[in-house]
Subunit: 339 residues, 4 copies
């Protein structure tokens, strides 16, 4: 039974605690902390976990075998580095850190440690439809990949959401997915500006993001974040002799009032709840008994940050921006996620 | 943490042990037994459970809070009755017992006990697509239901499979599903004989089974068990002003070689693995801490047996056969499964 | 340029006149008549055709090379026999005649004439989706056919529609389609009664019609004629190792308000307008220059009438009714419609 | 009965002759010519038309009420101008002329004539799926349009096909479609270069073409011309609160060998044959009796040429290229094609 300490018991932290306490196998949450002590205390009480004053105390707790970081983004670096220093596996929600420099410091600390401890919360790699898509690609069903068409559609966004969030919060999922899907780094980014939706106020919504991989695959990503009708994630890979796309996945088809219709998920929770469960179970299974995480690595977190920065620059300048990564440490050289 | 004892560690018993040990939350398998002691010992060793010589010993074990019966069908009655006698919750794989008389004895024993202890393993009630279908129906999306069209297709069947198995092993899932979907007993059964498939040897395959509910809904079920192309479960409810059907559920769509195609599940495991997980987690959650099971009841097991017997009679005689149930005890009068 | 005389210029007659005058090639309507002379005169004036007092005069007109009968059903026999007597090709809207005896008299007259002159207006054989379905079947894509599932759904029916119309007006299209699809006569008919829709008043709606072919294919047909949501025609053939179904055929897919939806046709005109065009063009092409019609024959009209009568008897009695056809004249022995 | 003269009896000319002779209504081909007199003579013989030595002779023939130009592209200008000079309606297959200057000369000639005579053969405006898509857009089903995603996929291309053909022969259909769909001129063009398919030899295949309309709608067009699996045309418009896409249009769905599949058209003929029929019938109906054509105008042909030239420049330079049209004459100011 893996003992997990959770740093940050806000909405997403509480959801992961619920998941570990009532859905998954082989895990128990043994300690928690939060910047708001009362919130932490309530979360701990529900599951009989210890409450600590700081993230470092959580990490140091002997009942904590592995750490989950779901605190405010700017504190991620500090806790992930502390977990590495303690030699404990750490699952950090995205982003790994809020700057590419901070991500690089984590990569360097983990490299110095000499083995993988860090996993970043890019959950699409665990979604059944994306995995089936990757299997179809890897099985050669469509030949060598040449292009990919994506759409990332949100019905609406919260008040804090701003211009750059289109890249850093929304499209960052496609950035990680593309790197994983094709096993290639992204080398250039461009952002095109369509007519603006009236639903988003002053926000430039939608955008068309263009990503190019090291071997030339061109990926276009429609980012629409006030499209009202639902949460809709789509992707189609164009290969040399065919294409493969995410399926439609509707549990029910209704014929009424002149139409044949299927429901669209209302939000990302509904669409990806299963992926979160798989992501956490696989992480628990991999690190239990002293094993190494197999999911998105610190390098993946770093690369996503660099590409995301390039995307923001592309958005601001209107120009194509090249992506410059540091040399990849050999620690990250093997394929890290099985299909 | 619910302690579960498993009686019968054959293929399905082992699969449920794996599920409880590595997938689900709040449960641990504490004791097992099997008619083959060596098989039981191996299953126990993998998870650190006790091994007992008899099912009765498993039931009596103080570390066993609840019982799972996955032994040979003809032994189900004995173990379920023993669990009721011990006042312990018992999950029994279908069929509840091999005759309707045995099922009735279980109903009577549970009624005498005065509270629900028994749950029967009809897992379709836990499938996401069937639940979405029932929600659409209950929400009034299509009006009052009038008919339902079903297909139950297997690519092939094992050597032991015989004429009556079409009803008792295959269509019995639709029998339970129809009762649950419409909240009505089935009152009459008829079986029609189409042209025979060459794939099934002497077996009369396919069949068209017709079920009528107490309020007149007419359900037709195609049963095809050697159809080669895959495992395919379909259902469409026809209401007064529309229809609702199970969705297509394909994770990926491939365009190649002149066709747009989606995969069909290879077998029932692939199609319903998620439903088994949900079924067991909900059962564990319901009986943990002394609670009552909310899934398919002993009455449901009895009713399925009676309808199934009527189906076999209809198959043999070619005539429509009325279904005669005993009076339903009040213990089973409330709705037992939420959508 | 084929000169066509139209007997009966009601709604359907006028629609065929419009079709021949403004859509199709190689044809011109040269003479018309109607029981209402004023209606006939108006129809004739629009296209410059002659108006005659009787159907017999139309048939006798030297400018009439071929005859279209779209008069009131009870008059069909008279005009079709007159056309045969004149040796002129005659396209008769369904039904060929209102009794099987009348249909048989036409068969006998045509057989005595010694060559095909008569075509009956069963337009589904000309529908692109049905033709693609038949091609898939004939190509062996699914193996030997064993069953077929059909649905014939109307949003509503006119005031004159009565109990027997469910068979004689609605399901008669499936009766002809099944004979054509499988190249087999229908040998038995049964009708089952589901719960009654509140939308149809006293009408028993829906019905489940069961047809059996000479080689054992079992066809179930849902007939729902007040289902409100649209006009929906479906069919799936179950073969030994797969199935083939009519496609979905939606020109547009809309994502809005939480749903992905496609439109359903509002009525049979929208669904089958293309089939009518193909039906008439192929008929014109076949009979121009003295050729023989290749579409549904007088025999097909007779067989549909006999099966339809059996369906009405089955509906009235609740029993399975055998179909007894006379011996098929050799004139009709060859396959009459290419895929 | 409209008398039509056909200039150019190559493959496409012969197909239009077949269409007018055997499919459509109210038309007859009265005269033909071709650079190869023997080919012209054979085409004429089949339908009883006159053969002339030159296109000018065809135009001058009193039995010719309207002209169809299907000769070699470089000769289009000459014949269209001659038809305008003769005051006869002329249907010119795309392109209207091979340079934008030549197109402009036609626009000027027609403007000087003072009424529309010219229609250009952009047939997608007559396709049922595109029309349904435009109706959905115009009905407000998805709100104001912001983006459109298109794919134009060919299984293979002929030997003469070259780099620029990707724009001038293939994407030119999307160029016209976008102008028609949104009722806006295209103001800028960009071409992006994905990884190259091995199926196309030295050809840069695929491309991603980006079109921007005057009101800011951004359209991306995947152009893949050696994708083997079939001919596939797709389009999805992204609006403020939903999207609308071309439907899937499959006549049949087959379940076999582990897959649910629908066929893809083999080539453009199969996909658009119906659109050609509608296009010609509407043209015939519009110009018969001295009427004016309502389809794609000389201005549309000119605009497509200018945008196409910009696309070629964008392909060569890798830069975004602005589109500069001359001032639009008032002759073309009204909407020219009904949905």
């Amino acid at each position: 039974m893996l003992g997990v300490g959770v740093i940050g018991t806000g909405m997403i932290g509480q959801d992961h605690i619920r998941r570990m306490a009532t859905v998954l196998s082989g895990v128990r949450v043994t300690a928690v902390t939060d910047v708001d002590a009362a919130v932490a205390a309530r979360a701990a009480a529900r599951i009989g976990a210890a409450v600590h004053g700081t993230g470092e105390d959580v990490i140091a707790d002997p009942a904590v075998d592995a750490v989950v970081v779901t605190s405010w983004g700017p504190t991620h670096e500090q806790y992930v580095l502390a977990a590495i220093a303690a030699g404990k596996p750490v699952f950090c929600e995205k982003p790994l850190a809020t700057t590419q420099q901070a991500c690089l410091r984590i990569v360097e600390a983990e490299t110095a440690y000499g083995a993988r401890l860090v996993q970043v919360g890019y959950m699409r790699r665990y979604d059944g439809a994306y995995r089936a898509l990757k299997r179809a690609l890897d099985d050669g069903a469509i030949g060598t990949p040449l292009m990919m068409h994506c759409a990332h559609r949100n019905p609406s966004v919260p008040a804090w959401y701003e211009r750059e969030s289109m890249i850093t919060d929304t499209a960052v999922h496609e950035i990680d997915m593309v790197r994983w899907m094709f096993g290639q780094e992204i080398t250039a980014v461009q952002v095109l500006i369509p007519r603006r939706s009236g639903n988003g106020g002053a926000l430039q919504d939608p955008l068309l993001l263009l990503l190019q991989t090291a071997d030339g695959v061109l990926v276009d990503v429609e980012i629409s974040v006030n499209i009202r009708y639902g949460y809709d994630i789509r992707g189609e890979i164009v290969g040399e002799h065919g294409t493969a796309a995410l399926g439609e996945l509707s549990p029910v088809t209704v014929r009424s009032a002149g139409r044949i219709s299927t429901p669209v998920p209302a939000d990302w929770r509904e669409r990806f709840i299963g992926a979160y469960d798989v992501e956490f179970q696989e992480w628990i299974d991999s690190v239990a008994g002293g094993g190494r995480p197999a999911g998105p690595s610190a390098w993946d977190g770093y690369a996503a940050a660099v590409v995301s920065d390039a995307g923001v620059a592309a958005l601001r300048t209107g120009s194509k921006v090249e992506v410059a990564l540091t040399r990849k440490p050999s620690l990250y050289s093997k394929t890290e996620v099985a299909a």
